[in-house]
Symmetry: D2
Subunit: 286 residues, 4 copies
């Protein structure tokens, strides 16, 4: 049963701010404590849930700022894949939350370190992915897993993704979708200039090292944010992070249903699941 809430709305989206006001009133009227963005800094560690009104970008930002607190995303963006509740459903969603009818889905994070000539320049962490990405020219990246050389990849770079991040850039680059609960990370080359191409999934315990071999412009990108221009010889080390990403999942929410509808993943849209009704009640699932 969630009683203490944080509340964060996407900047620059008036409808998000308005909805935040409505939600604050609604929660307060039900006896809940609500901390807005200003107050959160002091109080976040005792919050049961943070309600984030926006898209996936906001959820990432909130998770970075308040690591480990369960987040419920209310989608006012375009394709909210982490933002599981749709805007028009907010009352139902919050009712479930207040009534304790939810569970928290945990996902691993990635720790990322960049070493340049022995110096540690970046020491961060990621919820979705750590990406080495070329500017407008082909680059080369060497990949090692647990100290073992895997390959040299000429192309547009390399993605290391968590399960929750696998539906983002990883899938776009042709990598696999890892559903929640898989203990592994996907390592997917971006447009490798080769007829040889395979995505790897490595265990969570793996140490994934990448050496940047080119002089050309490329960046280290963490959860979609470019953090550093790479230099030849840079070593990017990715391991399992110490934080846990926690997402509030409401009854009737279902990864496959969401994936099907948000990505139009419907090979035969007219097909009726033969076992749909008896086994997997879809009412309420959107």
């Amino acid at each position: 049963m969630a009683r203490r809430f944080g509340l964060v709305a996407a900047h620059g989206k008036p409808e998000a701010g308005q909805l935040a006001e409505e939600i604050r009133r609604w929660l307060t009227a039900r006896g809940c404590a609500v901390a807005g963005e200003g107050e959160l800094a002091a109080q976040w560690s005792d919050r049961d849930v943070i309600v984030a009104i926006g898209g996936d970008g906001l959820i990432m930002r909130v998770a970075h700022a308040y690591p480990g607190i369960p987040i419920l995303g209310i989608n006012v963006g375009r394709i909210g894949f982490l933002a599981l509740a749709e805007r028009e459903d907010w009352q139902r969603a919050l009712s479930e939350l207040v009534a304790g009818r939810y569970h928290v889905q945990e996902g691993p994070t990635l720790a990322v370190q960049l070493e340049r000539r022995g110096e540690l320049l970046v020491d961060g962490w990621a919820i979705n992915d750590v990406v080495i990405r070329a500017g407008y020219q082909l680059i080369e990246v060497e990949l090692y897993v647990d100290g073992q050389f895997v390959n040299t990849y000429p192309g547009d770079g390399m993605i290391v993704a968590t399960p929750q991040g696998s539906t983002a850039y990883c899938m776009a680059a042709g990598g696999p979708v890892l559903t929640a609960g898989v203990h592994g990370f996907a390592v997917t080359p971006i447009c490798p200039h080769s007829p040889i191409r395979i995505a790897l999934v490595v265990p969570e315990q793996a140490t994934i090292e990448q050496v940047y071999l080119s002089e050309r412009e490329a960046r280290l990108i963490i959860d979609g944010e470019p953090v550093l221009a790479l230099e030849r010889g840079d070593l990017v080390r990715v391991t399992r992070g110490s934080h846990t990403f926690r997402l509030v999942v409401l009854p009737g929410t279902n990864f496959y249903e969401a994936f099907r509808s948000k990505f139009n993943f419907q090979i035969r849209p007219e097909a009726q699941p033969s076992r749909g009704n008896e086994r997997a009640p879809r009412s309420g699932a959107r």
Copy 2:
């Protein structure tokens, strides 16, 4: 330190039988107990290691016959991916084994059940993969994970693979390679007749159900062996199996090196790993 051995050679390969004799003498001379195929049935549960001389097919057969016992494969087949020791290396490999310089890599297995009109027709298990595979015409398979409908796939069928099986048919169908230690199974459609295509990796705890929707010829294939002709409405349920697949891994053996050489996975064959020598001594690694 391994002292009690089982010894199995591929049938129909005279060189495998000959090598088995040599190995038996070599092991006996070093004070080890060796049970040949005839004697194994009675003694297998007390064996430390079974030495299998042949290709991957033999290792699968041995693992099915003597579940849970660590296997060292000596490759006399063409592409032995599970058979990690090459024929010419057998003395070094057995020396390591007898000296106890090895570890046992554990992999999950798959339990598979086929229900037809409520009756259980197949109750088996797999080391590599469970496959629904069309004959010469397009078939349709419905996929559910944990009771949730995923999609209806028209095409050549569907593969559920373990990590050790992911380099077999799963990779061929465009699925990901799951390295040892990943807790998940790959679910890969075979030639789906659609521009929509994605491979999924699901947690080991998942229940993967497939409903066969066509009248056309198709088979259930377990670890490469066709076990049953499918009928419309058949339900194939795959979960984590109770057995564990155990493979003997010797020092200097390395998945990535083996994958690179056996599948010629070398995008830039002339490239020298920049960190190869300091971190990952490759001498002895083949």
Copy 3:
């Protein structure tokens, strides 16, 4: 302006037979000559158009029986990709036809010859594709183009497809879609057991030769029909065929629209084309 029609309905589909009767009456009432399946054998070469009522399988059968005559397919099957008119649209479609408001889209065919120990066992032709396809076990196929060795492909076989066939098995195997008017054939390996994978498009003038290297069960399949069990050493030669495949295309019919709707190829289903109205009137299209 089409006046002399052939009329063929799919067997075993009562609604196709009924519709054929309606269409015969409709055409006759408009002064057209109509030959049914019985009469066609004698008269087909003077027909302007053959109307085929069924799915893509029927169109292929008709095109093989009466090569070179333009065909209008009326779809009463499931996914008719060649059958461009939908059942409920038949009157509009035939009105256009009788009024001469259509064009004939021409596609190349494939000639296929199978040689076994110097003997010619198969000498046929294909509208869509020529396929070497494994039974339930991995096979090996060697590919040559214009006498040049390309590669040895272990896997499920190989597809050579025309543009009109590229949306069938070729696409399912991960190959490209060649739109009408491309002068080339797609050569796509089926589930190659390798991380190395690429589809080739070769010129229409190319000679595509495949040598079957395995002992295992496999078949030569022409336009979806298995025609022969392959034996080790068989040579399958594919070149451009002498026939032309002719499909009647009505105004408002549009490959991309059809592809989008029949294969649900809609990445963002809600997206409105920004130039849709000014340039590509979609009313009446499907």
Copy 4:
């Protein structure tokens, strides 16, 4: 029989300059006229062949500067795919050339126009490819072929490639390889954020239009050169260009052999082509 040569060496590669000197002496000694880079501007239109010493980048530059003249590339770069002669082979290559033992392989070019608010900002042409490419964030591109809407692609952009360009970025993005002589262009989305993905091949006569829908940073790249930062609403139109790209091909040169060796496209490196000797003598190849 080639007698009048142009001679261009890659800048910044001393060995290319040195080799150019050697080649000039060698050709002059054989009575050929040789124009160096300084003299070429005046004389290029009467040259039989331009010899370009460098990598593929240089060949592209030369082909843009002197359109239509056959080019022989001598590779001193890393992976020269258009530069068909290897450095150490230069004497043999030039002997063939002088003796007239070569043919000229012709490839189509692409015309590209960019319109912004009705104004024509770019009017250029490409040998390999025209690319819309995102900076570090997802962009959206709408694709039309012959005025027909195809799809809206969120992702890293889009590639239109000629056959000679298809082994470059097109292949890297998962597109098909079009061999010489195919009359068509490949249209391949770059990392589309979707499980829906297919590469298209369209006829040479097609008009390929792309509308840039995002506000984010992206560029129009022609043959690898960024030429313009894109703005929302920009229309990029690609059609067949009026120039022809001409490449000198020497006896024993063979696309498949080159592709196999340069991209290590060898699924079974140890395999001996069963028909290799009788049909496709490989001695002297590459």
